[in-house]
């Protein structure tokens, strides 16, 4: 009984010691260095190509190819959290009145704990998804209980001098819909996302969607593909199309490729012009601008933000609080 207690005390005092904390920090540094030197989150064959069979297997199964999401990194973070909580408790226990240095230290260490907890929450519970939404259409946001209608997308360019035509800002006008009722309208731009019911919507990208239909062996199908990307549309046909100008009536350049044939069909077609294929036909019906929206929810953010405030406050009180 007493021996057990003694052993327990030893383990706790080891976990709580400054030396152990420093060892954890050094381990994090080393793991992080590996995490930047080894390309992360690739497939096994990528590493086999790069490092050879044996080394690749070692790196892959030890977690060094995905350091920051590895079990080891999680364990180290938890140990650091435990170590910090002992250290923070001790700091608060021995505080004296007007010991600003001490208050600062205790607060900043507590702030670090909050940040680590927030980081774990973010790591496990944040969701993020990317949507490409044509202008004037409605997008259902998964799991968030509301829809978004994209009313407009605009690019603002720099005007004068040699930097003419460099984009200054991208804007999307959005309307939030709940049960098909309009709740509100807002404009988002890069660096200015909107936040609604814990979900944030970011302006991330833009592009054009080429729309049309294909009929193969009597079957008709509509398609909507990003300009310049090769996408399978129907009946073993792949398409890559780009608009010839800025509007649909200037026509489209296309490349149609059948999975089993070598020679692709390449050409230029006007709006609604029929392109004949051996099994049917294709035509382009519209060119739509789309906006690329990143939609995410992250319950860790408010936690991390409060940790940041505690950490900053603590550090500056410690630095400028006078009394040593």
């Amino acid at each position: 009984m007493t021996q057990n207690r003694k052993a327990g005390y030893c383990i706790i005092s080891a976990l709580a010691s400054l030396q152990f904390g420093l060892v954890l920090l050094i381990t994090i540094v080393l793991l992080s260095v590996f995490g930047t030197l080894i390309p992360q989150s690739e497939q096994l064959y990528y590493y086999q190509e790069l490092y050879g069979q044996a080394a690749a297997a070692f790196l892959y199964y030890s977690g060094l190819t995905h350091v920051f999401s590895s079990m080891l990194f999680l364990i180290i973070s938890l140990l650091l959290l435990i170590n910090l909580s002992f250290c923070t408790c001790n700091r608060f226990k021995y505080l004296k009145q007007r010991d600003w240095n001490g208050y600062g230290s205790a607060t900043l260490h507590f702030g670090l704990m909050v940040i680590i907890v927030g980081g774990l929450i973010s790591g496990f519970f944040s969701h993020s998804k990317y949507y490409e939404v044509p202008v004037q259409s409605v997008m259902a946001v998964t799991d968030s209980g509301f829809d978004l209608r994209v009313d407009d997308f605009q690019i603002d360019y720099y005007e004068n001098g040699q930097h003419q035509k460099q984009p200054r800002q991208y804007y999307t006008k959005l309307t939030i819909l709940e049960n098909e009722k309009e709740v509100g309208s807002k404009e988002i731009k890069v660096n200015h996302p909107i936040s609604y019911k814990g979900t944030k919507v970011y302006q991330t990208s833009y592009g054009w969607l080429v729309q049309g239909n294909i009929s193969v062996n009597g079957q008709q199908k509509n398609f909507s593909v990003p300009a310049g990307q090769t996408v399978e549309i129907a009946g073993n046909y792949y398409i890559k199309a780009i608009p010839a100008g800025e509007t649909a009536d200037q026509g489209f350049l296309y490349q149609l490729h059948h999975r089993e044939r070598k020679q692709p069909f390449i050409g230029r077609a006007n709006l609604n012009e029929q392109i004949n294929l051996p099994e049917g036909s294709v035509q382009f019906s519209a060119l739509k601008k789309f906006t690329g929206l990143q939609v995410k929810s992250d319950p860790g953010v408010p936690v991390v933000w409060s940790g940041f405030m505690l950490l900053t406050g603590g550090l500056f009180v410690k630095l400028y609080g006078g009394k040593k």
Binding site: L18, Q19, G21, L22, L25, I26, I28, V29, S32, V33, G35, T36, Q40, F68, G119, S122, S128, Y158, H163, Q166, P167, R168, Q169, Y170, K189, V190, N191, H192, P193, K200, Y202, T204, Q294, K296, D298, V301, V304, W305, F308, L311, T312, L315, F316, L319
Partner: protein, 269 residues
């Protein structure tokens, strides 16, 4: 006009720092007080020129010179010299100038070889958080640059045994090294925090383990270890000085190594 004046003044400042470095080199051979003072004032005048150049560039760009790698290196050198001028005025550490002023020479030389064009801000960079991010980075890296110089002086003193009497006592050097890191550290913390808040606003992820932010965190942890190691027996003295050297190595790697060797989100810096 302001743009080309700015470039000319930067070249002048570069020459001034070079002359100051050479004077500091002379001081190591003939240790004469007036030459040391001349070296210091040459650095100070070059710093004033450097400041004016940055002001002109800001006027020409219509914004603070915080947006390109070229501009950041100019600001980095500026921060290092600013901290140096303060520390030297207060503590008078011979040799520190010889270690720190050439840093500015190298940085400005490197900056001159880069694309110096003033570019308008791309949408991702239009954020007050970015400006704050760079501002605190200049303070932090300036202080770390000086702590590095002091650490090297400490190690030289430490290895010379009883020689090099004109260098300050090891305790003084240790104190300067500690002070500059203790001042730089909260600002380094703010570099990470402002970066995270900005990343959340622009990419929707406050932390993504991108190589540059990972190396900034590595830098922060190394200095955190330094600040704690003082309380652990056997980690003070030369070991602590080496940590200050390694910490600044991490600063330089974050700025140059990562940019040159690794790809990531910080493509514009």
């Amino acid at each position: 006009m302001f743009y080309s004046w700015g470039v000319e003044l930067i070249n002048l400042a570069f020459s001034g720092y070079l002359i100051s470095s050479l004077l500091y080199l002379v001081v190591t051979w003939i240790n004469r007080e007036p030459i040391g003072r001349l070296a210091y004032w040459t650095a100070a005048v070059s710093f004033a020129t450097h400041t004016t150049a940055l002001t002109f560039r800001a006027v020409a760009a219509g914004r603070l010179p915080f947006a390109t790698m070229h501009e950041f290196i100019l600001m980095f050198a500026w921060g290092v010299i600013l901290t140096y001028l303060f520390v030297q005025a207060r503590f008078k550490i011979p040799l520190l100038g010889l270690l720190v002023v050439p840093m500015a020479v190298l940085l400005l030389g490197y900056a001159a070889a880069m694309n110096q064009e003033i570019r308008p801000l791309m949408p991702a960079l239009q954020s007050y958080w970015l400006q704050l991010h760079v501002l605190v980075a200049i303070v932090a890296y300036g202080a770390f640059g000086v702590s590095f110089g002091t650490a090297v002086v400490y190690l030289i003193k430490n290895n010379s045994g009883s020689g090099l009497d004109y260098l300050p006592a090891k305790e003084v050097l240790e104190r300067v090294m500690y002070k500059s890191i203790a001042i730089g550290f909260p600002f380094m913390t703010l570099v990470l925090i402002t970066g995270a808040v900005w990343a959340e606003e622009v990419w929707g992820r406050w932390w993504s383990w991108d190589p540059k932010e990972t190396w900034a965190l590595i830098t922060w942890i190394i200095y955190a270890i330094y600040l704690h190691a003082r309380f652990v027996r056997g980690w003070q003295g030369a070991k602590a000085a080496w940590m200050a050297v390694i910490g600044f190595g991490a600063v330089l790697f974050t700025l140059f190594g990562v940019t040159i060797l690794m790809s990531g989100l910080h493509s514009y810096s």
